[in-house]
Each structure stands twice: as C-alpha cells, then as structure tokens.
Symmetry: C2
Subunit: 254 residues, 2 copies
C-alpha cells in the first residue's frame, strides 16, 4: 500500500520503484498520532524533521496580536507540512491539527539530500511547492475580490476537490469536521456571517451538512457559486492522461 505522500505526488509525476520504496519507507518509519487541535510545529520554532500528513486534517495558521487567528491553508493526507524547514531557520507560521491525525516525520537532512540528489523526487517536491503557491495566490484573489458567499463556496469546493483528487472520497460525501469558527478563521469572515452564508448554500441545495459529514449535492452549482477556475491547481498533467486515476476521479469537476 503506497504512502499518502506517493499518492499525492503521483498526481503529478510517476516514480521509479526504487524512489517509491524509498519514500514509502521514509514516511512510515516514524509516525505519530496527534489529537484534534494539537500543534505539530509552531511559529518561530525550528525542527530537524519535516512532517507529512498521513491521515486526518491539519492546517497552517497564525495567531495575531489582537487574538484573532488566520488559517492560511488546509492540509489533507499526502501534504507535506513544512518542507521549508530544511532551508529556512524557523517557521513563519504554525501547523496544527483540526482532527485526530497521523503525522509522519522525515529527517530534514535526508530530505535535503533527496532534493539535491534525486531528480524525480526533487521535481515532485518542486511541483508540490509551486502548487501550494498557486493555491495561496488564488486565496488572495478570493479575499480581495470575492464576496462572502463565493468565498465560503470556494473553500468548500477546493477542499472537496483536493479530497477527490487524492482519492480520500469517491462520491460527494466527505468528512470535514471543522467548526464554523474555523471556517471564519480561514475566510477572514466572522462566525456569524459564515453561518448565514452556509445557510444560503443549504437553501440553494448546493450542500448538506450532517454533523461532521458534508455532502456536495450539486457540484456544478457549488462550483458556479464559488466562481471556481481550476488552472491554479496544475492538475493538468494528471487529467490530460486518459487513463490516469486522478483524471478519472476529477472528471467533470475541474
């Protein structure tokens, strides 16, 4: 069974058996179970290891002086949390779990060595980093130009899509155990207004929220509400290949 890391990276590339075995071994050697809402690495800290989400849901966030919190990205299985740490001296934000999660640790020294000496692994991490950048840029547009309604719709659609791309889900139903306060922290809105917008999305029959289970009943409608355009995810290599797994999973969604 391949590690989530490999499943993620293979959206973009394909590894030799040797690389695959290496990455599988590295990401399974040291794993740790975290509870919900625990920090994995904090702003200002350095770590000799990099961390990768294996199961669960985590996020990048920052606490501001005024007590508010900004969630900058959600991390799903396969996502590296802090591949910057082997280069930069310290984290400029915190990584924390939202739900109980299993997180793998890989030595930064080993990572660095792989990135400098294993071209196909280096390329995969470059792609992942550049995709992250694309997601960040899209979020800037999101906050700068979309209204609250589209913003919430966008966030839900993006998480839905990434879970589909990764193969965590195969239909329209997924576990997304976040509070409305979390969504507010991620969108820059207030919890009260998030609630109003979720109400509207439900009223339009775009989504159903049943506790921690979310259902996107009308993906096309949600996508429209979100004003979603997909090229920033750079999944084209995956979806262009007619026989690709990821392509099949995302058919009609991007």
């Amino acid at each position: 069974m391949d590690s989530p890391l490999i499943k993620k990276m293979e959206q973009f590339t394909s590894f030799s058996n040797e690389d695959r075995a290496l990455l599988n071994r590295l990401s399974s050697e040291r794993q740790k179970q975290y509870g919900a809402r625990e920090d994995i690495i904090r702003e200002g800290e350095h770590s000799p290891d990099i961390h990768i989400v294996m199961t669960g849901l985590a996020c990048r966030y920052k606490h501001l002086e005024d007590g508010t919190r900004q969630i900058m990205a959600f991390l799903v299985p396969g996502d590296p949390c802090d591949s910057e740490i082997f280069i930069l001296n310290q984290m400029d934000h915190t990584i924390g779990t939202l739900t109980p999660s299993i997180i793998a640790s890989v030595s930064g020294e080993i990572m660095k060595d792989l990135l400098l000496n294993r071209p196909s692994i280096a390329l995969a991490f470059w792609w992942s980093t550049l995709q992250d950048e694309g997601v960040l840029r899209e979020r800037i547009i999101d906050e700068g130009r979309r209204d609250a309604y589209s913003r919430i719709a966008f966030l839900i659609y993006e998480v839905f899509l990434r879970m589909r791309a990764f193969g965590i889900i195969d239909d329209q139903r997924f576990e997304f155990p976040v509070t409305q306060t979390d969504l507010a922290d991620a969108t820059g809105l207030t919890p009260v207004h998030v609630n109003r917008m979720l109400g509207r999305l439900r009223q339009q029959n775009l989504i159903i929220i049943d506790g921690k289970t979310w259902i996107v009943c009308d993906p096309a409608g949600l996508r429209k509400a979100a004003r979603f355009e997909s090229n920033y995810l750079h999944l084209d290599r995956a979806t262009d290949q007619p026989d690709s797994e990821t392509g099949r999973r995302l058919r009609g969604l991007i």
Copy 2:
C-alpha cells in the same frame, strides 16, 4: 558588477566564484527592454524561458471575469518572475511590467539542469521560492485581518524594505511609480478608498508622495501603522551576520 539576481540570492547564501560567474553570464546573455505596462508572460501561456527582473518594477496579476484585476505581488530587480514554468505546463497568472524594465531570459532547460545539479543554486532558488510563499501567506493575513489603513501601510513598508534589502535605495526615498488604481488592485480596495488612506498616512507624517518618488519619513511609525512583523521574509541569515551588507542596510527596520 554582479547581476541583480546574485545580489538578491546573496541575501540568503553565498556563491562560489564559479556559480557566480555562471549566473552572471546566464542572466546577461539575453535581456530585453520592456515599456511600462507590458505583459512579459500571460496566464495560460507556456514559455521555454524563465524571466528575471534586472531593472524596473513588475508585478504578478490576474484579470478576473468581472473586469477587475488583482495584483498578487510586486517584483523588484533580482526577482525571478516565473521559475515555475520549467515544471508546470502553463502560467496560472500573468506577469507584467508597471514601469519600463529590463528583463533577462534564461532557458528553462538550463535552469532545470542547474536546479538538479548545482546544490548551492538549487538551495538559493528554494529559498527564494519559500520566501515568496511567506510573502503570499502574509498577504492573506493582510487581506483577512488588517483594515484598509494598515493594509496600505503594510504594502508600502514591504516594498520599501525589499528595495532597501536589495540595495536599490539607501535612504528613505524610492521610486515607486504606481497609480492609486494599481494600489487598489494590489490591496483589494477601491481607488477612492486608497486615496483616503494615503491621505491619512500623509497627514500623520508617515510618508510623502512627490510624483513618482515616495519618501518614508517615519519608518518606525509606518511600520507600526502596518502592524509589520518581519519573520516571514526570512532575512535572518542575512541580518544575523554582523558584517553582512544586507544586515547593514536593514538595521533598525525589521
């Protein structure tokens, strides 16, 4: 005379003479003069080359369906515009100049080769990419949690700092020939409101705008208005070294 690219990268690392000569040669071989407000590479396009700003001022932006524009980052001399292009198939945003600029082209194939085979160059580009990511994350916080006044102050302070770090300027005066509409596109505000906020910053004697020349008369005050924290720029390696050029230039500012 070192290429701006090297000056930028040496904020983080130091190159061997051989690497330095190589980068100098590559970035001087093919240069092109652009006028103000010309596109260098557009969303959706692919290019065999990557581009680097040598002089002038450029930005990353995206035009949205509704006719608005979002500027996602300003690019100053030394900044690579599109190091993603040698990995990703197409740009997910446009790069364009704001002022007349000289842009260098470097073959993507050569870049790729350097990144996979020259560790110190690869590390420098990793650092640059990760710094860009930090800047993007900071902008998300900016838009999510700062009010219009801080946002404008922040933008000005960041550009000021990057120009100082790079050595384009040595005092408080810099050329920043953008219109208030550009600033609105960069902050997600309206031009009218940008104007109001600039008025306030002037009233507080934090800045003076004299045509295309901007003067930060009170860096500490502007920094405070911006609620600026600097760790996301990851200039610590540069500023920690007591004899560093960059350190000297940024003394008291970060």
